[in-house]
């Protein structure tokens, strides 16, 4: 029986939690203003940007559960580095028949964006990629053409930011995002059978893992704070209203974690379609509860940059809109549910095949 309830990412979590805690300690209240090369080297040397990819494709090996465990740690410690983005880009590379780079030749990815557009002719690309995370720091930006209006057969586009006009901005969490303008810019094109949908699903899983970690972080932080903070002569944890905030935080964190780990465990792409969308949608909604409850339990101190809560909640805000917003996902999932032969089977079947048939 224990095969079904093993905790698959637990080994790597145990091995790496010290690294994360030491490098981004719990008492960090603000992010460093710059991309820390030393930290990034440590991250890449540990193989975190390619974990979950087979070694023969240049990956660090390990399972999807291992990747999820790493990203939960990254979320838990609000790591101000593009671990998830680089890992996603490495996966895209491998799914495009290439070997994922490691060391200095890492890539970030361009998320699907309504405002993006790209046209490619004779190896020259023209268009825009908006809000590319860490697009100013990455040596390479990968974009799945079909996700950016470049036509379904466009494959994976490899962009060198140095050849683009780059405007750097800040996202909601204060992390750098780059606006890339391409104007007959030479790009490399890789063939891939990956659909925009498959890419988005991987993006959802990766983002939900980060969110799960950040929710756990916010729950832990709040539980600590309410024991220490006193008002009216006793720790605020003694107030029923504060307890309700704490309970909600734990519920949201436990729920998100349990689902993201469940999805990683199944690891079967045909089965993940449903569970990953459910995961991201639920994570988005749970994150809304978490930010509200954590801030409310913290009071004024949580609204300052001097205190570390904002590092978690600002990232949660950001990730809610990455790879699937609530309305998009709810609409998609709703159509899926409405066209399923049986709603009960959709919920209860572990691996629902086409037409609701149980495999």
């Amino acid at each position: 029986m224990s095969t079904h309830t093993s905790d698959p990412g637990s080994e790597i979590e145990a091995a790496l939690s010290g690294f994360f805690r030491d490098t981004w300690p719990d008492d960090m209240s603000d992010d460093p203003d710059v991309f820390r090369d030393d930290q990034w080297s440590a991250v890449t040397e540990l193989g975190l940007t390619t974990i979950g990819l087979p070694e023969h494709l240049g990956g660090a090996g390990g399972s999807l559960s291992d990747l999820v465990a790493v990203l939960q740690l990254a979320g838990r410690h609000a790591v101000p580095l593009p671990i998830a983005e680089a890992n996603l880009a490495a996966w895209l590379t491998s799914r495009s028949g290439h070997t994922a780079g490691s060391g200095p030749m890492w890539s970030t990815i361009a998320r699907p964006e309504r405002r993006d557009h790209l046209t490619i002719r004779d190896g020259l690309a023209t268009g825009e990629l908006c809000d590319v995370p860490w697009g100013n720091e990455a040596p390479q930006v990968l974009a799945l053409g079909s996700a950016h209006g470049a036509g379904a057969a466009a494959g994976t586009i490899v962009v060198d930011p140095d050849r683009c006009t780059v405007t750097v901005r800040e996202d909601l969490a204060g992390q750098p995002i780059a606006h890339l303008t391409l104007d007959d810019t030479p790009v490399t094109r890789w063939d891939t059978d990956l659909t925009a949908d498959e890419f988005a699903l991987r993006g959802m899983l990766v983002t939900a893992a980060l969110m799960s970690g950040a929710m756990t972080g916010a729950a832990d932080l709040t539980r600590e704070y309410v024991e220490v903070r006193e008002q009216f002569g006793r720790p605020i944890s003694k107030f029923q209203a504060v307890q309700h905030h704490v309970v909600e935080l734990v519920q949201m964190a436990v729920m998100t974690r349990s689902m993201v780990e469940r999805v990683a465990l199944v690891a079967d792409p045909t089965a993940q379609q449903i569970d990953i969308r459910a995961l991201k949608l639920t994570s988005n909604e749970n994150a809304a509860h978490v930010t509200r409850a954590a801030h409310q339990a913290h009071g004024a101190i949580g609204m300052t940059r001097e205190y570390r809560l904002h590092r978690l909640t600002r990232r949660l805000h950001l990730w809610r809109d990455a790879f699937g917003t609530d309305l998009e996902l709810a609409g998609q999932f709703g159509e899926l549910a409405a066209t399923a032969p049986s709603l009960a089977a959709l919920l209860l079947d572990d691996t629902p095949g086409p037409a609701g048939e149980t495999v």
Binding site: S258, A278, L329, L346
Partner: protein
């Protein structure tokens, strides 16, 4: 708190799921049975007997007592299929979910040998006599009293809101045997025909009569009717409540309504589809959590906090779902409608508020969770 480790169904478990599903598809044809929502399931002794014949009652009880010797996950699989159909499980529901396991854990060998086969065969139906007029969330304030008398016990007092007492063959009651707040409570099993026990239905808000008052007027019981040690009732009761809370019935009972709602949604109704998406996604996530809890039980754990955590969210979520479905229904549903969707929705609207009260109110559950967290 235990982490809710991820799990999936094995091939054998999926096979069981298919078997149950196919059986119920034939046994319960649409329109051929009274549909109930979770705990409000109809009582149908024939159906109970048919399930028992297939080994689907008392599944997790040991074989030596007539049970199936199967796992909590296997039981959950059966229960999921039953509840999503709103099957008439009312007769055996309480016994299967909580009284059986409780008697197994706390009963004497004689009690096990007598009651458990009766439960597993679908002959015995239990109701739980816990709450009293002045003792709801604060169970320790129970006042119904059992005093020693003639080698046995004499019971006096009143239990209220005892679901299913009208059709139950047995009542499992909590009585005060001393003034010690928690240590002064003891459980007794009272057979339905025992002189001095009067069961009177209390009309529930939806007009049904399964909610009962049970008056004990000098009821005499032999000592063999006592379940567990004198003074052990509180702990046993808490254990039962955990069983009551952990199940899928805390988020799945609205499925008969949801299934019928889905059938009414027009393909271009973005609003309804968006709402449906939100609901379904969350139910799917709850399902994963319930499965993990069942696995913990099968590993010998007692996931009390986890069960409370899911029950608290699940019952609140079901209430939100009712709000959403009624929005889309677009008119006031009639409880007496011949349209199943309409009458079920009306029932759900009326009975829904009880879901965050029964089996521990939202407020009580949050304090159970909080205690579980700080105990870590």
């Amino acid at each position: 708190m235990k982490s809710l480790r991820p799990t999936v169904l094995t091939a054998d478990e999926r096979a069981l799921q298919r078997t149950v599903r196919n059986y119920l598809q034939e046994r319960l044809p649409e329109g051929g049975y009274p549909i109930g929502l979770g705990i409000s399931a109809a009582v149908d002794r024939d159906f109970t007997r048919d399930l028992a014949a297939r080994g689907w009652i008392g599944m997790a009880l040991p074989r030596q007592y007539g049970g199936g010797g199967r796992t909590a996950v296997e039981r959950q699989i059966v229960v999921e299929e039953l509840l999503t159909r709103g099957a008439p499980v009312g007769f055996h529901w309480v016994a299967d979910r909580q009284t059986g396991p409780s008697i197994l854990a706390n009963g004497t060998e004689a009690q096990r040998s007598h009651y458990l086969p009766g439960i597993a065969s679908g002959q015995f139906s239990f109701a739980i006599g816990m709450s009293e007029p002045d003792s709801g969330s604060d169970l320790a304030s129970v006042r119904a009293r059992a005093v020693p008398a003639d080698d046995g016990w004499r019971l006096n007092g009143t239990k209220v809101w005892t679901s299913g007492a009208d059709t139950a063959t047995h009542i499992l009651g909590l009585f005060r045997t001393s003034d010690e707040r928690h240590g002064g409570l003891t459980q007794f099993i009272i057979e339905r025909d025992t002189p001095g026990m009067i069961v009177s239905p209390i009309a529930f808000i939806d007009g049904t009569q399964h909610f009962c008052e049970v008056v004990f007027d000098d009821v005499l019981l032999p000592d063999s009717a006592r379940l567990g040690d004198v003074g052990a009732g509180w702990g046993q009761n808490v254990g039962e409540l955990a069983l009551e809370r952990g199940g899928v019935d805390r988020w799945i009972s609205l499925m008969p309504v949801l299934e019928r709602w889905v059938a009414t949604i027009a393909p271009d109704d973005t609003l309804a589809l968006t709402d449906l998406g939100r609901i379904t996604a969350r139910l799917r996530v709850f399902r994963g959590m319930s499965l993990s809890i069942a696995r913990l039980v099968d590993e010998g754990e007692s996931p009390v906090t986890e069960a409370a955590l899911v029950k608290e969210m699940g019952t609140r979520f079901e209430q939100e779902c009712i709000e959403i479905v009624r929005h889309h229904f677009g008119r006031s549903p009639r409880p007496d409608s011949s349209d199943t969707f309409e009458s079920l929705l009306a029932q759900a609207i009326l009975a829904g508020p009880s879901w965050t009260i029964r089996g521990g109110t939202t407020e009580i559950l949050r304090s159970v969770i909080m205690k579980g967290l700080t105990a870590r």
